[in-house]
Amino acid sequence: MCGIAGLIHRGKSSKVGHELQGMLQALKHRGEDSTGYALYGDTDGKNFIMRFKVGENVGEGSTSVAEDVSVYDERKKMVDSSLSEMGAKIVKEERTLPYSLRYEIDYDKKDLLEFSQRIESIPGVEILSMGKSLEVIKDLGNAKMVCDRYNLDKLVGTHAIGHARMATESGVDIKSAHPFWGYPFSDVSVVHNGQLTNYWNNRRALENKGMRFMSECDSELIAVYLAEKMRDGASLEEGMKESLTGLDGVFTYFVATKDSLGMAKDTMAAKPLVLYESDDLVAMGSEEIAIRSILPQEIDTYDPFDGEVKVWQI
């Protein structure tokens, strides 16, 4: 079933980690196999923030295997070495869990494709997100469990999207959890509720164009699809509108960039979405109770119509 939630503050920052945790926890009955956050924090914009994993948290149906911490350590050394060779300087390093790391990197090149390919050529290493403000954090369990594990409660920023997952199309592990980074674009992330029925056709076509897939989760296709459109010069909104016909199936998805948040709903309107919009805040989720977790007072909400695409700026 899965639940998605997102919010964007316009003209101010807030504790988006705490707010999104509340929204996703309200949706935990829609799936708590894994939960993911894409948080856009307040930063000085100088350094890249790279969230990556050097191993898996293996759940039911996963094609990955559990490994020893020493394997993770070895991979981390290889990542450090690759960064050094590419001229990327690690400014700050955090290792929240043995398999999950957060680096702040001083790296002056804009093209992240070569950078990402080099890092991910190390077996077992996946970049979860790369950007000047984006941080993707995802792991097994419900929203509160993941929030507590990664200390997300105090993160201050402008906008965020998140996903509570009930695994249906692939196994329970981090690589199949949402959000997906819009590889190789800085600060782009996607969450999705639904099923895509032309996944393999699209995937083959995109792989032939040099795009990369890390999982067999159909939702990853949206991130890659949009990334490819933007690589070819389309704006985010144009790419999203094209996706209404390019992607087949039922879907509601959110996409976020460094300064914007968007939603798209398929032409059958088969997946739910409730939206609240005011001058200083947009909040949306699969169910109204997600919005109520941050706005308990009486508010006006509505369901976007079929085939609707909306984008808001911070």
Partner: protein, 284 residues
């Protein structure tokens, strides 16, 4: 009622061996007996006094507890119940088989007012998916917007949304009236079998797709017609009915109904005459 065992005429489908069942169950043969009316008990109903009013704050209650408390209050004779702080909770106000004035001061989540028969409900907020599903009788008024599958499979009653509604409004409806003050989404009236839908605003794609019967009136623009949905003549009788219905619903009283479009089933897709036993068709 004829004894179904004695029905010898075979439909085409039965002759083809597609249906072999014989409808002899208790529900097919036992009917209401007016001689026993004094002893008739309709489960879940109470004698209530509309002037006896109470408030119920459900902020810290689960939906199940809230519904039990509504039932408990009705059993005490309360005929007007005001629900405070529903805060988007799902499945509140379901299964009420009673005359009752039920007022929600706030919004409901999914499946609100499901499977009800008789109450008059006013919701001062919005409602989520599948509001008033399977409504048998009564009146439900939503002051703001409604989600998708609004009034799915209703059999009777009046369902009024003063704002806009999502997709598949009135899907599979078998009676009653749905009135929308704003716009409606895609697949409105999808597979509807009876009843009427009135939309004062615009409506999305595939209006009335695969509808068997019933009527849809649209005041605004239509995204596209669904399979077998066709235009029909808006008669004087239709206009009189629309005016009366909108007035009673307290919505669009000054709306020019003469310019509304009337959509009905083209009945080109019908095939269940040959595939379903006559008895089943009659039950729809």
């Amino acid at each position: 009622m004829a004894n179904l065992k004695n029905v010898t005429k075979k439909t085409k489908a039965q002759a083809m061996g597609m249906h072999t069942e014989v409808l002899t169950g208790r529900t097919q043969q036992k009917f209401f007996n007016p001689d026993e009316a004094e002893n008739f008990y309709y489960f879940g109903t109470y004698d209530v006094d509309f002037n006896k009013r109470t408030d119920l704050d459900v902020k810290d209650m689960t939906a199940a507890d809230a519904n039990k408390e509504i039932d408990n209050l009705m059993s005490q004779g309360y005929g007007t119940i005001v629900i405070k702080n529903p805060q988007g909770k799902h499945s509140i106000g379901v299964g009420i088989l009673n005359k009752l004035n039920l007022i929600f001061e706030g919004s409901l989540g999914y499946f609100g007012i499901g499977s009800c028969d008789g109450p008059t409900v006013r919701i001062n907020g919005r409602v989520g998916w599948s509001c008033a599903e399977n409504l048998m009788a009564g009146k439900v008024v939503i002051e703001k917007n409604a989600g998708s599958c609004f009034g799915a499979a209703i059999r009777g009653g009046d369902l009024i949304c003063k704002g806009s509604v999502g997709a598949r409004t009135g899907i599979d409806m078998k009676g009653g009236t749905i009135i929308i003050g704003g716009d409606a989404g895609a697949f409105t009236g999808f597979m509807m079998q009876r009843g009427r839908i009135i939309i004062l605003g615009d409506v999305g794609i595939n209006l009335g797709d695969s509808m068997y019967d019933g009527t849809i009136f649209v005041g605004g623009e239509i995204g596209s017609y669904g399979s077998d949905a066709v235009d029909a003549e808006l008669t004087k009788s239709d206009q009189d009915w629309l005016k009366r219905k909108l007035k009673v619903a307290e919505i669009g009283e000054n709306f020019d109904v003469s310019k509304m479009k009337k959509i009905v089933a083209g009945k080109k897709l019908w095939n269940y005459d040959n595939l379903e036993p006559t008895e089943k068709k009659g039950a729809i």
